[in-house]
C-alpha cells in the first residue's frame, strides 16, 4: 500500500521534472496537464484498495470453497453411513440381523445376571423376585424397557430368549 503511494509520488515528481524540462513556455499548459495526470495518478490507490478488497474477498471465497470441499469429502463417508443405517431400517430383517440381535440380548442377560448376583451378595436376606427387579432397575433405561417387556411375556426366563 505505502509502496504504491510512494510510487505515485515518484511519478508525480517525475512529471514535475518533465515539466521543468519542457521549458518555461509550455509551463502553464504543462502544469494543468500535470495536475490532471496527478489527479488521475492519485486514483490508483483507491482502485488498488478496491482490488485488494476484491482480492481478499475472492481469497476468502476460495478458502471457503476449499474448506467446503474438504468437508464434503469427509462427509461422503458419513453420508454413506447414514444411508446405510437408513437402509437397514427399511429393508426386511435377515437371519443375520436376528442372530445379531439375539447375541445382544444374551450379552444383556449376562450383565443383568451378574448385577443380580452382586446385589444378592450385598443383601442376602432379600427374596429372589425383589432382587431381580432391583437388578433390572440398574440397567440403563432403554435396555430396561426391552428387558421388562420381555420379562412380561416370558417371566422368569432371563437367559434364553
Amino acid at each position: 500500500m505505502s509502496d504504491e503511494k510512494s510510487k505515485v509520488t515518484d511519478k508525480a515528481s517525475e512529471i514535475a521534472k518533465n515539466i521543468w524540462l519542457a521549458g518555461v513556455g509550455a509551463y502553464g499548459k504543462a502544469v494543468d496537464e500535470a495536475q490532471g495526470r496527478l489527479e488521475r495518478a492519485m486514483e490508483p490507490p483507491k482502485l488498488f484498495r478496491d482490488l485488494v478488497k476484491a482480492g481478499s474477498a475472492l481469497e476468502e471465497d476460495a478458502r471457503g470453497a476449499l474448506e467446503a470441499s474438504a468437508a464434503a469429502k469427509t462427509s461422503v463417508e458419513q453420508r454413506i453411513n447414514r444411508v446405510r443405517e437408513n437402509f437397514h431400517m427399511q429393508r426386511p430383517a435377515r437371519i443375520e440381523d436376528i442372530a445379531a440381535l439375539q447375541k445382544k440380548v444374551e450379552q444383556l442377560s449376562r450383565k443383568v445376571d451378574k448385577l443380580a448376583r452382586a446385589l444378592a451378595e450385598k443383601t442376602p436376606a432379600e427374596k429372589t423376585p425383589g432382587r431381580r427387579r432391583a437388578a433390572v432397575a440398574k440397567v440403563p433405561s432403554r435396555k430396561t424397557a426391552a428387558k421388562t417387556s420381555r420379562k412380561k411375556t416370558k417371566p422368569g426366563r432371563g437367559k434364553n430368549t
Partner: protein, 218 residues
C-alpha cells in the same frame, strides 16, 4: 441467517417447487416478506441468483463425485454395498437442486456459463461411475469388460442425469424417497446382470423397499 443466504435458500425452494421459469424475483421477495428493493440490493436479478445457486451445486456435487475417483468406496468384499449407498448420496444431492433438471435445456440455453459447468459435471459423473465400476471389476464383483463396461457407465450416467426429469414427466410430483429410491433401483438394474448371486441380495432388498414405499405412499 444472513438475508443474502436466505434469498438463495428461498429461491431454491421456490424453483424446486414451482419451477424456475415460473418464479420471479418479486415472488422470492414476497415469499421472504422483504421488499424487492432489498432483494435487488443483494442480487441484481434472477440470473445472478441462479448463477450462484449453480455454483453452490457444482461445488457440492463436484466434491461428492470426486470421492470415488480419489479413493475406492469399497476395499473389501464386505464393503461392496458402500458403492450402492453412494448412489443414494449422489441422488439426494442432485434432488436438492432438481429445478435444474426439470428445465435443463432451457436453463442451459439461457446461461452459457452454466452450460459449460454442467458439461463438466456430466463428465465428472461419468468418471465417478467409471471409477466405481472399475473398482468393482478389480474386486471381481462385476463381470463386464471393455466396451460393455463403458456402455454400462454411459447408461448409468444417462439415467442419473435425466432421472428426475423423466420421473417428473411420468409421475408429476412423487414423494422424494420414492423418486430417489427408484432412481437408485434403476441404476442397480443396469448393474444387476453383471453381478454374482451374493450381491444380488442387495438388489432384492431394494426391490422390497421400493414395493413397501409404494404401498406407504399409495
Amino acid at each position: 441467517m444472513k438475508t443474502r443466504d436466505r434469498i438463495l435458500e428461498t429461491s431454491l425452494a421456490l424453483f424446486n417447487a414451482e419451477g424456475e421459469a415460473h418464479t420471479t424475483t418479486i415472488d422470492i421477495a414476497n415469499e421472504m416478506d422483504i421488499s424487492p428493493g432489498n432483494l435487488y440490493y443483494h442480487f441484481k436479478g434472477k440470473d445472478q441468483i441462479i448463477a450462484e445457486l449453480f455454483q453452490q451445486y457444482e461445488l457440492a456435487l463436484g466434491s461428492t463425485l470426486t470421492a470415488p475417483i480419489e479413493q475406492p468406496l469399497s476395499a473389501g468384499k464386505g464393503q461392496v454395498e458402500n458403492n450402492w449407498y453412494y448412489l443414494y448420496v449422489v441422488m439426494e444431492e442432485m434432488y436438492q437442486y432438481r429445478f435444474l433438471y426439470y428445465n435443463l435445456d432451457d436453463i442451459l440455453q439461457r446461461y452459457p456459463d452454466i452450460r459449460k459447468s454442467f458439461k463438466r459435471l456430466i463428465q465428472l459423473k461419468r468418471a465417478s461411475l467409471f471409477a466405481i465400476c472399475q473398482n468393482l471389476l478389480q474386486q471381481e464383483i462385476i463381470a463386464a469388460r471393455d466396451q460393455q463396461l463403458l456402455g454400462l457407465v454411459d447408461n448409468m450416467t444417462l439415467t442419473l442425469t435425466f432421472w428426475f426429469n423423466y420421473d417428473q414427466l411420468l409421475h408429476d410430483n412423487r414423494a422424494p424417497e420414492v423418486t430417489i429410491h427408484q432412481g437408485v433401483l434403476q441404476l442397480l438394474t443396469m448393474v444387476a446382470p453383471y453381478l454374482g448371486d451374493n450381491e444380488l441380495s442387495f438388489y432384492r432388498d431394494c426391490e422390497t423397499i421400493y414395493t413397501n414405499l409404494l404401498q406407504d405412499v399409495g
